[in-house]
Symmetry: C2
Subunit: 461 residues, 2 copies
């Protein structure tokens, strides 16, 4: 893995960059933040221990995956946010976006309560041959519970025993799924205490579906463990997991850069950006700092897919405000390739594409886009990995997780909670008539009562 930060430096991109002296100076901040992380490795930051801990669980996970593969044709991950995004990252990165067209068990993600999607999915799946992995830490996430009920309804209608078609992944002690698991003896994986959704990809949350999809779980964990050891032993100036948050911090604090774009050159790999979007948003987007001061801190992540989005958002990146840090990520070699002959079309305009490997164009676009960013003095980090392989992706995942926690510590906010999300949930419960949330319903009605004031209605049809 290569982490190239040449083009965030003033010496290379002028005033939109920062100086190497600033970077070096921030190391002090990093060292004290690293200490605070170390102190909380058994509590708040327990997720950082997952690579080693989970290697002890890999056999159980693989055995369950083998059983699933032998018995079922469809594997459906039912979970929201961190109970799905890490699974999607691993699945699409390794298996691409057309996996289900030619492989079984087909892998689906039920990560919404869109009636159109859910009704369609449960209608066309052969439920006899389908298993649902219901994932929720709390054991009661509203969307996941609605899907769980919908699934049990459908299984019952097909004359099937729902208990043979679900696997739970939930808190080891608390919550509704845990209660049902104990009562009904349902196969259940534990999410370790102190591991929140967005830091749970390297727990059974992300690893079971990974194993079902043929991903080598022990090697993935080994990659993450290697990054952990690297962070432990390397000087912060020699370590990508510390340099990344230093750069994010300085760009945010000294340049007002409030947007970070993760720009991945591959369809499947772009799910890394979707996963990172939650990681950075929920971890850093905070009203209060550790001392209770209102700080309204946050960096908005956006996921960008090369080359496609060069034809969408790149114009803005090159000419718009200097409000972005780009993180360009690409493999040096792709898992598949082909030779382009192009014998059918003999026209000079496209001769340059012929008798080459298919992958040459996307590689050239990656380099060409980096050069265009440079030419426009746009700050970017370039991360390249030799190939999409388990150990490389394990390293990347651990790097981003550690970097995000470190950034939170540098900003003096809590990177593992998400206090504001509870409010919307409480309003939702109020509307749905859940017991104990009656006052929330009233409050909400009051909040939205002005809403009839400024409405344009268009009713021609």
């Amino acid at each position: 893995m290569k982490f190239d930060y040449t083009n965030i430096l003033k010496e290379n991109i002028g005033d939109s960059g920062i100086t190497i002296e600033e970077v070096k100076k921030a190391v002090e901040l990093v060292n004290s933040a690293k200490e605070r992380i170390n102190e909380k490795l058994s509590s708040d930051y327990f997720a950082l221990k997952l690579p080693f801990l989970m290697s002890l669980k890999a056999t159980e996970i693989n055995n369950t995956a083998d059983e699933i593969k032998s018995k079922f044709e469809n594997f459906v991950v039912v979970g929201m946010g961190g109970s799905s995004l890490g699974n999607q990252l691993l699945h699409y990165t390794f298996n691409g976006i057309y996996y289900n067209d030619t492989n079984t068990p087909r892998i689906y993600f039920m990560d919404n309560v869109d009636p159109v999607s859910s009704v369609s999915l449960l209608k066309h799946l052969d439920l006899k041959k389908t298993v649902f992995n219901i994932i929720t830490k709390s054991g009661s996430t509203a969307e996941t519970m609605e899907n769980f009920l919908f699934i049990t309804d459908k299984l019952a209608k097909s004359g099937l025993d729902w208990k043979e078609h679900v696997i739970f992944t939930t808190d080891p002690e608390k919550g509704l799924l845990r209660k049902l698991s104990s009562k009904l003896k349902i196969k259940t994986f534990d999410i370790p205490q102190n591991v929140g959704g967005r830091y749970s990809v390297l727990s059974p949350v992300g690893l079971l579906s990974a194993a079902v999809g043929g991903i080598d779980v022990p090697v993935l964990l080994r990659g993450a463990e290697l990054m952990r050891v690297n962070i432990l032993n390397k000087n912060p100036m020699e370590c990508s997991a510390t340099l990344l948050p230093i750069i994010q911090y300085l760009m945010f604090k000294t340049k007002g850069i409030n947007i970070n774009a993760l720009f991945t050159y591959s369809d499947g790999f772009s799910y890394l950006g979707q996963w990172y979007r939650q990681l950075l948003s929920e971890s850093i987007g905070k009203k209060y700092d550790r001392d209770g001061n209102a700080v309204y801190t946050g960096i908005t992540p956006t996921s960008v897919r090369g080359t496609s989005d060069q034809h969408s958002i790149l114009q803005l990146f090159l000419e718009g405000p200097f409000d972005k840090l780009l993180i360009m990520v690409a493999p040096e070699e792709y898992q598949a390739d082909a030779k382009i002959n192009g014998n059918a079309i003999n026209e000079p305009e496209i001769a340059y594409l012929k008798d080459k490997n298919y992958s040459e164009l996307i590689k050239a676009e990656f380099t060409g886009t980096c050069a265009a960013l440079k030419e426009n003095n746009r700050p970017f980090i370039k991360i390249t990995i030799p190939k999409i392989r388990e150990e490389e992706i394990g390293k990347l995942i651990y790097m981003f997780e550690y970097a995000t926690i470190l950034l939170g510590e540098m900003l003096k906010i809590n990177p593992i909670d998400q206090p504001a999300v509870e409010l919307g949930k409480a309003f939702t419960y109020g509307i749905m008539g859940r017991e104990g949330f009656e006052s929330k319903k009233e409050k909400m009605e009051k909040l939205l009562s002005e809403e009839d004031k400024h409405i344009i209605t268009f009713n021609d049809l």
Copy 2:
């Protein structure tokens, strides 16, 4: 359609809002911008005439679609950026994300040059039963050309005549595809002059695949035409297509809001956000204004999918910096629904979900999230449509297109060009050895030559 802008107003959300007086004052700016648009309806802004013009082409489009449906099992849209995003918007919005699992012709989008995706797709499709719609305005977009060559290679290898498996959509006069079309008599649709990629969804670019997917093209166009007439006849204070850019403009200019999030409550409908991302990025992201001053203008759009992304980015929206305008979009009724009985699980924690319609939860989450935004004084516009129907989506598309052009005119920039993207393309051609781009390669090598200066390499495996 309802357009509710109550919660961008200071009277409702405090200092993060703007006043109704500011909105009214901006109408002057709008009126002169509208005049400039009207003057260019036959040149730069010709795309705004598409609803009526294309209604004359609907029969030809529908007839071709019928022929495709009778002859083929797979329809592949091959195009980049604006030659694909509008197609995806229409397809996924109306047909959902699982259409291909149960319908033919299955519809695919080849909108990248990722070797993993392309090799896999062309391997598993039955090419005898597949037709490719090659879409490029210029007739020579590098990625589209590479895919075109790859497709002709594969068709030849299967013993098929490629000319019977492609339909072109391109410039009426210029470019390589037009040349091939004339020479080889290939079925070809014209993209009208002066209609750029991101404004082309209501041309044959977007409409052919829509018709193949069962979308009622004449009604879609009628919806857009109704919005056109609405803009023409209504006072700017009574029209969503003018109020939207006024709000975007004021939020950007007076509140420094550089991020607009399009938050759609549906899986398929969230492709509206992907389409809008290009529309807003490329149209407004500009270095120079009309007078040649360097202004570095731009608003970063981001696409958000409810309820899923409530578990990802909502924490940041509620507690992070006041740097965002949210555009909340939802249908009042969904195209499908189901009854949740939940007889299998009798636990009080989830009793509130039982004996209700499946769609009630997503509707409650939409309202609950609006209330949470309000409670946190976050500016948001709420757009609701009765249901996903052709006329409503036609209105929305035209509203966003007009609003974006108007915003560009208010900001005094050119909303229909994308000058910076050419540079990256030229570098790519240089790397690929295309004739005439040798100097670009040299320039690029010079630009990136410093890149070995600040690289961390991690090579444990």
